[in-house]
Amino acid sequence: MRTIEQTTQEVLDLATKHFQLPAGSLAPGDDFFKKLGIDSLQTLELLSRLENHFSIELPDYEVQGVSDFKTLAERIQSRL
């Protein structure tokens, strides 16, 4: 079982890779809409990538209103 710190790091690594950013450019408290400048469709793509990575189902409504990586990681952790 992953710790929340591990899950958070994996979320950050995956987002960094998905959006082709330099390593270490994202932090847990970052707002992904603002930091990545992505729209809602791109966010859905990221969620699909995260689901595949963690082998979980993350309903859209479960992450409704979530905009930072830390909270996103917590929602994922609760489903692991």
């Binding site: 809409f33 603002k34 469709l41 793509e45 309903p59 859209d60 479960e62 409704q64 209103g65």
Partner: protein, 570 residues
């Protein structure tokens, strides 16, 4: 379809529809590949009436306001019907706003009841804005887990009254809903829509794009949006049609829904339509050369044969695979919320998929003009709907002027803002702030905006005043945000941008530190709300006696500058 001239209110028409079409399917709700719910009209009624009864037991009554903040799902529509049944006024809010923005609008609307989903409530209940909205007396939340902390809310699923609720009649002129067209962070624009607005708009729209039992509408645009409320709830329900809700909007599941549920209509914003176009184009481009040649030839044949009007059966035969991917029964894609580029409309029409392009405003009760497809026109937004009087005010030499509308579908005014209402509705005519002209065939062509705002491809209205807050306390003498098109009118509805005008202190330079500050503040805004450039103006902004910036006057001064050199891109 019901004869809507016979009804006084949205609630009354819906009540009759639930009786008239009792055994027809009205709602299908799916979560990924699983179908979660399928309700007939009679089953919908059985879900809604206990909720209405429970609401009445709490004292919720005629004219009371109730806000819904939910993603598209069956409980949204069931709750809305229960509110109308009790004579209440619906306040549908965008679930994508921040919790503080939502509380701000809830407070402004005076809603005493809030219906929302547990994941949304989890954010709302801990938001600082909650304490300001003291008007909310009860909160109902759906789908809360068994051990969840409800933070003062009650479970929607357990909120049921026993016995028959009493239907509360409303007059046509009464307010049915308060729909916010913008105003988060600035001056809230709560459009007061009457029952008559909805009844008349429904008659007009369905005369061009009809619904009937068996039609399936895929509801993707948020239901709080005026378009989805009309074509994803009131319109189909008063015609006995079905609405399909998806609990996920991941593209792969949306694609699956078309063939699975044999979708008849869907509404999309231009951004999604454009993405769909890109995806399809990529697939066509990937075809082997031989197949590609055949495909292109079939598209050319379809184009020639559908020049005067759509011929769906023929298009489905010619371009079978494309149409099968859309379920084979799609009649039209309805596009709205923002301006759609003609080449995107043409792309779909050439494939035999008509896009119902139109023009509307929340204030006008959704649609003002709609393309009737006879013939299809990609370069115009259609002709006025029945019952709409549309005028071009003060036309210039090229015929372009402000579009004004008079109709029974125009809102009664902005909530708590008589001043703005008086500026917007003049002698019964709604001043849209959009510029356009009619061509010789009576089609409206849009040619830019007169008002200081932009609309994004996602259908978001952005008013400069709403985003100025983020630049407050910026160390400059004064600042102001404008839509660039407002300063330098461009006869276009796309590529709209916001600019930040700075008046620096004496001796102050637009140096690195200030640029960093501007950029950092800009980054705090959601991407679609960001300013794209900075204009430096070395003179005092014109102000009123109460020191408000005279925006019109300032814009006129800025217009004397050359936009190409004046704007420093961020």
């Amino acid at each position: 379809m019901l004869d809507l001239s016979q009804y006084q209110s949205v609630g009354e028409a819906l009540r009759e529809a639930l009786e008239r079409f009792s055994n027809e399917v009205c709602l299908i709700e799916a979560d990924r590949e699983r179908e979660k719910e399928r309700l007939t009209y009679i089953e919908f009624k059985k879900r809604a009436l206990p909720l209405a009864k429970a609401l009445q037991e709490t004292g919720f009554s005629e004219g009371d306001r109730a806000s819904i903040i939910m993603t598209n799902q069956s409980k949204w529509l069931i709750s809305a019907y229960a509110i109308f049944f009790c004579g209440g006024v619906l306040v549908p809010l965008d679930y994508k706003l921040t919790p503080d923005e939502q509380w701000q609008l809830i407070k402004h609307s005076g809603a005493t009841l809030l219906v929302t989903e547990y994941p949304i409530w989890r954010q709302l209940s801990i938001s600082a804005g909650r304490s300001a909205a003291a008007n909310v007396k009860a909160v109902l939340i759906t789908e809360a887990p068994a051990n969840a902390d409800l933070a003062g809310a009650r479970r929607w699923e357990e909120f049921c009254g026993a016995g028959e609720p009493t239907f509360i009649p409303r007059k046509r002129s009464d307010t049915a809903s308060i729909v916010y067209s913008s105003g988060t962070g600035g001056r809230p624009k709560g459009c007061m829509m009457t029952h008559e607005n909805y009844l008349e708009q429904c008659v007009a729209l369905t005369s061009i794009y009809p619904f009937w039992p068996g039609v399936r509408y895929l509801s993707i645009l948020p239901t709080n949006h005026a378009i989805d409320f009309m074509v994803g709830f009131f319109g189909p329900f008063t015609c006995g049609a079905a609405v399909v809700h998806l609990r996920t909007l991941r593209p792969e599941y949306v694609r699956e829904a078309f063939p699975k549920y044999k979708i008849t209509y869907v509404s999309l914003v231009p951004l999604v339509l454009k993405n769909l176009q890109k995806g399809l184009q990529a697939r066509f481009d990937a075809l082997p050369a031989g197949k590609r040649k055949v495909f292109n030839a079939l598209v050319a044949v379809n184009k020639a044969l559908t020049k005067s009007q759509p011929r769906l059966s023929l298009s489905r035969l010619l371009l079978k695979q494309v149409h099968e991917a859309f379920g084979g029964e799609l009649l039209a894609i309805i596009v709205g919320g923002a301006f759609t580029e003609p080449q995107t409309l043409q792309f779909f029409y050439d494939l035999g998929i008509p896009v119902a392009n139109g023009y509307g405003l929340t204030e006008a009760g959704t649609a003002i003009t709609v393309n009737d497809l006879r013939p299809f026109r990609a370069d115009a937004v259609g002709k006025p709907l029945p019952g709409m009087e549309v005028r071009i005010l003060n036309p210039a030499a090229d015929g372009v002027g402000e579009v004004a509308v008079r109709s029974k579908t125009v809102m009664s005014g902005y909530l708590n803002d008589p001043e703005l209402t008086a500026e917007t509705i003049v002698d019964g005519w709604l001043m849209t702030g959009d510029l356009g002209k009619f061509d010789e065939t009576g089609h409206l062509q849009l040619r830019g905006r007169k008002k200081n705002m932009i609309v994004t491809e996602e259908g978001k209205n952005i008013y400069p005043e709403d985003i100025e807050k983020v630049f407050e306390s910026l160390p400059v003498k004064e600042f102001c945000v404008f839509a660039a098109n407002y300063i330098w009118p461009k006869r276009s509805m796309t590529g709209e941008q916001l600019v930040l005008v700075l008046h620096l202190d004496q001796e102050q330079k637009y140096g690195e530190e200030l640029q960093r500050d501007v950029n950092a503040r800009n980054q705090r805004l959601l991407n679609y709300k960001r300013v794209h450039g900075v204009i430096l103006l070395d003179e005092d902004f014109p102000r009123t006696a109460s020191l408000k910036i005279k925006r019109n006057e300032l814009a006129a001064r800025l217009a004397k500058l050359d936009s190409a050199t004046a704007i420093r891109q961020l």
